[in-house]
């Protein structure tokens, strides 16, 4: 069966520090991968998606970047965090004719 792992679950980082959130998928190959952010009081916003290794599309210009070094690994990064980067970050995967499966999320607080 397919599973998706996302870590860490919670993270408190100071402004200006770097960020690396990792997401891995098991039990499937060549999935589409996504990073979403849920800010307080707002819905889910698509940040990045990837249809293959090394292929990253950005939906929203921001302080973040994403990489896909392996087929089932998706990484969200920042060189210098801003206060506005606080939020709940969700990784998800999908394949054609499948729904979407979400990870358990990372609660990021930038202080």
């Amino acid at each position: 069966s397919q599973t998706i792992h996302q870590w860490p679950a919670t993270l408190v980082q100071p402004v200006g520090s770097p960020l690396s959130l990792e997401c891995t998928v098991e039990g499937t190959s060549n999935p589409n991968l996504y990073w979403y952010r849920q800010a307080a009081g707002r819905g889910l916003q698509l940040l990045f998606y990837s249809v293959g290794i090394g292929q990253i599309s950005s939906e929203v210009p921001q302080n973040l970047s994403a990489s896909r070094p392996q087929d089932r690994q998706f990484i969200l990064s920042s060189k210098k965090l801003l206060l506005s980067d606080s939020g709940f970050y969700l990784c998800a995967w999908s394949r054609q004719n499948y729904g979407y499966t979400f990870g358990s999320g990372t609660r990021l607080t930038v202080v």
Binding site: Y36, L46, Y100
Partner: protein
């Protein structure tokens, strides 16, 4: 580009009341439609989805949704809510293309009073 509107930001109901949450989408092509639920402290879970076929879709926990193409709507319904249905509900749409990225509505917080 696709977009999703959820008109109710916060709904408060008493147990046993009927529920209908509105969802309208904007997209020019074939769409897949979803409702997700996020219970307090938990991650997103899929309630139901529509890909094709019968426009009345039944999901888990007694929820259903009806796809009305002419109205670009996919409203979520439940005939009798329970206190345990208190959660945030998200409507989402994915269009065509290889990426099939989901676009979410802003969410509706449902509070069911015991």
């Amino acid at each position: 580009a696709q977009s999703v509107s959820q008109h109710n930001h916060h709904v408060i109901l008493s147990e046993a009341a009927s529920l209908e949450l509105g969802c309208n989408y904007s997209y020019g092509g074939t769409v897949n439609l979803f409702w997700y639920v996020q219970y307090p402290g938990q991650h997103l879970q899929l309630l139901l989805k529509y890909f094709s076929g019968d426009p009345l879709v039944k999901g888990i926990k007694g929820f259903e949704a009806e796809f009305i193409k002419s109205k670009f709507s996919f409203n979520l319904r439940k005939p009798s809510v329970q206190w345990s249905d208190t959660a945030e509900y998200f409507c989402a749409v994915s269009g065509g293309g290889s990426a099939r990225q989901l676009t979410f509505g802003s969410g509706t917080q449902l509070t069911v009073l015991p």
